[in-house]
């Protein structure tokens, strides 16, 4: 397995992201402490996905600074330190479930990848289908694969873009319990959600974006619910 994930906080300072003349993010400054579980709310196009991709370091901000506290893993590499569940599944259709996870385990330098992969496939309920090509999977099964891939390296920061998409009620309950476990072991979770759900109920803080800017940020119970349930959230 990779070096044990250390709790990591995220600091964003005056982050702008422009696509052409359009601001996807505008002067976003946030301090997310290690172990926080943060729900990002906002209408479609409000900048949630861009913010998650900036934090994942998949998108370079136009202006501003992103830092992780502490900076990296003990072994000095960032591979696998951030787990990301995006809209797309980020796994290969032409490979089996097992091959996909073994591939990403090897890339992340996980020792004994076979054991880790077998355990994760059991956890996400896909062990019976481990030798099936991912292209034969349903949407929900693909989402479970996406979550399994993100959890492979036991990341210290987990980023999720509408993670419940495609999951059945049983899958949502499983995901909620997994995220609760991560939150309770000090991992930082940042997730985009739509409205109130079993997943958003885990949040200890809610941030609302509109037109790329942070318009509300709270950790208080009643306010947190109101941020998540605002019309159009």
């Amino acid at each position: 397995m990779t070096a044990a994930a250390r709790p990591a906080g995220i600091r964003l300072e005056n982050i702008d992201k422009k696509y052409g003349g359009l601001y996807a993010l505008r002067r976003v400054s946030l301090e997310i402490a290690a172990g926080e579980c943060v729900a990002l709310a906002g209408r479609n196009g409000s900048g949630k996905t861009t913010l998650l991709r900036v934090v994942a370091r998949l998108v370079r901000p136009t202006n501003g600074k992103l830092t992780f506290v502490p900076a990296a893993r003990d072994n000095g590499t960032d591979a696998g330190a951030t787990g990301f569940v995006a809209h797309a599944t980020m796994v290969y259709d032409e490979l089996t479930a097992e091959e996909n996870l073994v591939l990403f385990s090897k890339l992340q330098g996980i020792t004994a990848p076979a054991e880790r992969v077998a355990g994760l496939l059991r956890e996400v309920g896909l062990h019976e289908r481990r030798t099936s090509l991912v292209r034969t999977f349903s949407r929900g099964m693909r989402q479970r694969m996406a979550i399994a891939r993100a959890l492979l390296g036991q990341p210290s920061v987990l980023l999720l873009d509408e993670p419940a998409t495609g999951l059945d009620p049983e899958g949502i309950t499983w995901l909620a319990s997994t995220l609760r476990g991560m939150r309770d072991t000090g991992r930082t979770v940042l997730m985009s959600v739509h409205g109130e759900s079993e997943i958003s109920a885990l949040a200890t803080r809610a941030i609302r974006l509109d037109a790329g800017a942070v318009i509300a940020d709270t950790t208080m119970g009643a306010n947190l619910r109101s941020i998540l349930t605002l019309a159009g959230a």
Partner: protein, 224 residues
Amino acid sequence: MALLSNAAVLLEKELRTEYRSRELLTTTVVFILLVFMLFSITFHPTGSESQQFGPGLLWMAFLFASSLMLQACFLREQNNDTLSALRLSVSDPFAIFFAKLAANTLFLLFTELFMLPFFAGFFNVRILHVLPQLFVVFFLGSLGIAIPGTAFSAISAQARMRELMLPLLLLPVLTPVLIASTEVTAGLLDSPPAMNYSGLGLVIGFDVMFLTALWLFGEYLLEE
């Protein structure tokens, strides 16, 4: 060390997916075969004409076939955003390029060697006595196509009109390697055969220059 182990893992993935789909090799083999057949049927080249124009035709066919092959290289990674997953997983982004250009070189080399007997048959050219030398030229030429081809494939995959973008970017850049590879191949198919070392040196120089550029700036090509 992590670079090489990551690249080896990714190369295995590229070979496995191609083995399963056989999309790239089938397309390029059929394309090259069609070019040989059409040229042979249309022009009925004599032995001396084949020696004169054959090497140029051979490399032109390889070049156009490679632009078909390279198109899919990064486009495949866009279907499920797997490129993002790779970027999050590797410790050095150059490993992604290294694996892809190694796979592209191997696919091209395999296609070229597979098509060589067809070329010899269609154009009545003797190749057996210079096979090892041809292998060297094909390998270096394929590498010369694959290095900038892989880089431009990464650029064009994110662009609009991506199908047009790759050949438009790639073909002018590959002119030196095309000319040099053709000249070296022509020398080998001549009687008596001769190795054009200056042409070979040019191909090697081209490979080293573009590989260095890709190593230095490749990371930026992967960014969104």
